[in-house]
């Protein structure tokens, strides 16, 4: 195998950070090469250097043996480098074909849409990336939008494809589909640089893996030689616990009592149907289910963000069915929402302001409507020290932080108010192993302190490793509640697809 792309001693500094600090990488023709590293390791920076979005401070990039310098993505594209960013860059109101050809439209002065669509169709057949060229991008799922991005790169004759954390936004099914696309591209001779911080994905798709840590490439090894534990340790730079140790739960009084709950979504579609369960102090109750089966609505209703159509909600013995979000927060319900950037944080606020986002009305942060910045700042400083948020600067805006650190800020905020119940939705989504380990440990520590925890996750492994009891939701109904220690993937998988208790006879219910 010959090398296609080579990166030699690449260095890139940002004010105060060595984002890339002596990076070496060799991409062979016809391989899928993974860059594995925690958030902030410098993966995206490296890709942006290769793609001409940043210029290196020193070091060299070689394409097929020749040194190249890209002043802009335009240069990189011209040289055959294709990249799909972490955040898509599509125009929602235009069609798939429009988006793909944008900037290189067929035809002279007039735009020949039919021709564009034909070309896109040929391309999508060649690379087995099925998507309707005339569909509007805004109507496509995230997975399909990603395909459009890939097609966009291929349309520009990409000879290598860079995918920056492509699975972060995908459902498990979409991830599988992406993997088969990647494999097909490989078979067509297009090498792929696959950025990820997820061990299992890297092991599933890559031929070789390069681990990055703190701006440096630590090691490159064939995937066959690497165990998950070894990769995790390389990534984090210390021994990591991949699966947290858990003692037996010691459940106490009932904290949350959900009775026959019915909830509609904002478009008034029935999403939660007569769901009942209880959570006790000192236990983690996990909710498993395929995305979109009512988990979000259930949790929003408990947090007070969606109105309850029917049923009752009791918290510490008190009926809270009609209480507002603020009143529930005050009563002791903490909530780590699914979308940290859309719901959990105000990105252009400082960490101090975000730390008191849900507590600004109480002492010592305010009194009689006057805010006091000093106590807020002290409080925020304590939180970020306790949860090791980086950078350790409460004056930074939340939007400046990496996803993992943003999540830590939210978790710190929610946990520090000493709640009786913590609702955590996908608390480790998009985080790296080190951060996941930390957050799992925190959740277990809270449980052992006697808090009740409602955990919603799409990752079965996460549910299985943390939950003391697991409720499975399907089409808005709780189809089974099983004890955590005896639950298996298969059993949950069956329940999640709607096989009821009667059919899955092994399944134990309450």
């Amino acid at each position: 195998m010959t090398s296609f792309l080579e990166v030699v001693d690449l260095v890139k500094h940002f004010p105060g950070v060595k984002a890339n600090d002596g990076v070496n990488l060799t991409l062979h023709k016809g391989e899928v090469h993974s860059i594995l590293g925690e958030n902030g390791a410098g993966k995206s920076t490296l890709m942006k250097l290769i793609y001409g979005l940043y210029q290196p401070d020193s070091g060299e990039i070689r394409l097929e043996g020749k040194p190249v310098k890209f002043h802009s993505p335009r240069d990189a594209i011209r040289a055959g480098i294709g990249m799909v960013h972490q955040h898509f860059m599509l125009i929602p109101a235009l069609t798939v074909a429009d988006n793909i050809v944008l900037g290189d439209e067929p035809g002279g002065i007039t735009y020949k849409r039919a021709e564009a669509e034909k070309k896109v169709r040929e391309l999508s057949e060649k690379y087995r990336l099925e998507v309707d060229p005339s569909a509007k991008v805004e109507q496509l799922s995230v997975g399909l939008q990603q395909r459009v991005e890939i097609l966009k790169a291929l349309y520009r004759k990409a000879k290598v494809l860079i995918l920056d954390e492509p699975t972060a936004v995908l459902t498990p099914q979409e991830t599988e589909e992406l993997f088969s696309v990647v494999r097909h591209l490989k078979s067509q001779g297009i090498p792929v640089l696959f950025i990820s911080h997820k061990l299992d994905e890297v092991r599933a798709i890559a031929d070789r893996v390069t681990v990055m840590r703190a701006g440096k490439t630590v090691e490159t090894l064939p995937i066959g030689d690497a165990t998950p534990q070894q990769l995790a340790n390389l990534m984090v730079g210390r021994e990591v616990v991949l699966r947290v140790e858990k003692t037996k739960a010691n459940p106490g009084e009932v904290i949350l009592d959900v009775q026959q709950l019915r909830v509609n979504d904002t478009a008034r579609r029935e999403k939660v149907r007569n769901v009942s369960f209880q959570i006790r102090a000192g236990e983690i109750f996990g909710i498993a289910g395929i995305d979109g089966n009512g988990q979000t609505e259930l949790v929003d209703a408990i947090a007070g963000l969606l109105p309850i159509v029917g049923g009752r909600l009791r918290f510490l013995g008190r009926d809270i069915t009609r209480l507002s979000t603020a009143e529930r927060t005050k009563a002791g319900i903490a909530y780590v929402p699914q979308d940290r950037q859309l719901d959990g944080l105000v990105l252009d606020f400082t960490l101090t302001e975000n730390a008191i986002l849900r507590d600004f009305k109480r002492k010592p942060f305010s009194k009689g409507g006057i805010l006091f910045h000093k106590p807020a700042k002290t409080y925020a400083e304590r939180l970020i020290n306790l949860f090791d948020v980086r950078p350790r600067d409460v004056n930074r805006h939340a939007g400046d932080l990496s996803g993992g650190n943003q999540q830590k800020v939210i978790l710190a905020r929610e946990v520090s108010r000493e709640p009786h119940l913590l609702i955590a939705v996908q608390p480790t989504r998009g985080l790296d192993v080190g951060a996941i380990e930390g957050i799992h440990k925190q959740l277990l520590r809270l449980r052992d302190e006697g808090k009740a925890i409602l955990l919603v996750s799409l990752e079965l492994d996460e549910i299985l490793s943390l939950s003391d009891r697991i409720g499975v939701i399907h089409s808005g109904e709780m189809v089974g509640i099983v004890p955590g220690e005896s639950a298996t993937r298969e059993q949950l998988g069956l329940l999640m697809t709607g096989v009821t208790n009667g059919e899955a006879t092994e399944v134990t219910t309450r």
């Binding site: 020749k66 979000t325 105000v346 252009d348 302001e353 986002l357 805010l371």
Partner: protein, 360 residues
């Protein structure tokens, strides 16, 4: 300190670019830019009277700009300040010539309070409630309410009950004991400017040191996070537009008591629209509003002097205003220009393999 510098960079650069381009235009049509700007500056700040006049014009701009900045902070575009201003003038005029038995200071306060209330209600009730509970876009509703208000004022002094008998359509005047005292004799500068500055400090305090301001800003920055934080988004939407209207109303009240003393025909000064530009240039910073308002006031007062001294049309100041708006709105242009320049210089020294495949 550093972030203050960064916040200042865009408006300052935008203004400078506009001034430079304005100078080029002046030169191109045959005037000496230095002379032109010299006349502009001396017209605006040349002597005490000129300074007084500039600050007098800045007063309503500060108050209106402040109100618009608050609405922007809450993520709302109150572009109907002009109408809020005028209905407030109308209401305050009515109070002014009706309750003549009151002691002067009480009468002044009453006029200002009524002006603020009416301005607040004009913005808060229909546009505010419609936005909060029906999602009606405030750009449309504040604009419509603005026209409605202006036409209502017209009616009041042309055919309506406020018309003073006589040829000129105007209202009865307000009594002299409600006029605001002047700060510089013979000038139009009154303690109105003090009221405006106090308002700036109050708004700054409210925005950054009260739970009310915190909630307004959360709603403006991320309404979903606001809901999650337990903030009643509809309430704060109404409040934001209401407070914005209160400040437009205060501007109207102060202007009436300080300068106009009556509601008169031809009143359409455009303060409500310049106020939008003031808020934009100030980047919604309360103290920035003072600077931006004085700047635009200076363009207006200096522009007249500029025309007299150099014969250049005063509308050059409109060109400047337009350019500033352009550069502030297009703030991303500034780093982009820097980047182009860098690429252009480095491309000259290095080269890359250009023979890559041409896209189909």
């Amino acid at each position: 300190m550093k972030h203050i510098m960064r916040a200042l960079a865009t408006p300052v650069i935008a203004s400078l670019l506009a001034i430079i381009i304005g100078g080029i235009i002046a030169a191109a049509i045959g005037y000496n830019p230095l002379q032109v700007y010299g006349a502009l500056i001396s017209g605006a700040f040349g002597n005490a009277a000129n300074i007084g006049y500039t600050l007098a014009i800045a007063t309503p701009l500060i108050l209106i700009g402040l109100g618009i900045a608050i609405s922007f902070r809450a993520g709302l575009f109150n572009i109907g300040a002009e109408g809020q201003y005028w209905v407030s003038v109308m209401a305050a005029t009515w109070v002014g010539y009706h309750f003549t038995g009151l002691p002067g200071w009480l009468h002044v306060i009453l006029c200002l309070v009524v002006a603020m209330l009416v301005g607040g209600l004009w913005a808060g009730i229909i546009p505010g409630l419609a936005k909060a509970y029906r999602g009606a876009h405030e750009v449309i509703t504040t604009m419509m309410m603005s026209y409605t208000g202006i036409l209502l004022c017209k009616y009041m002094i042309e055919d309506g009950p406020m018309r003073k008998p006589g040829y000129i359509p105007e209202s009865y005047p307000i009594p002299q004991n409600t006029w605001l005292p002047t700060l510089i004799p013979q000038s139009q500068l009154t303690i109105g400017i003090v009221i405006a500055i106090v308002a700036v400090v109050v708004v700054w305090f409210v925005l950054f040191h009260t739970t009310l301001g915190f909630q307004l800003r959360v709603v403006g920055s991320n309404p979903r996070a606001a809901r999650y934080a337990g903030i009643r988004v509809p309430l704060y939407t109404v409040l934001a537009l209401g407070i914005s209207g209160v400040l437009s109303g205060l501007a109207g009240g102060v202007q009436l008591l300080a300068i106009d003393h009556r509601l008169a025909e031809g009143f359409n000064t455009g303060y409500g629209f310049t106020g939008i530009v003031v808020a934009l240039l100030a980047r919604n910073n309360p103290f920035g509003v003072i600077v931006a308002a004085v700047f635009f006031a200076a363009l207006s007062t200096g522009g007249q002097n500029m025309q007299q001294v150099t014969n250049i049309p005063a509308s050059l100041t409109d060109v400047l205003t337009g350019l500033i708006i352009f550069f502030v709105a297009a703030e991303r242009i500034v780093p982009q220009v820097i980047q182009w320049y860098k690429r252009w210089t480095s491309r000259a020294s290095t080269s890359i393999s250009e023979e890559g495949p041409k896209p189909a």
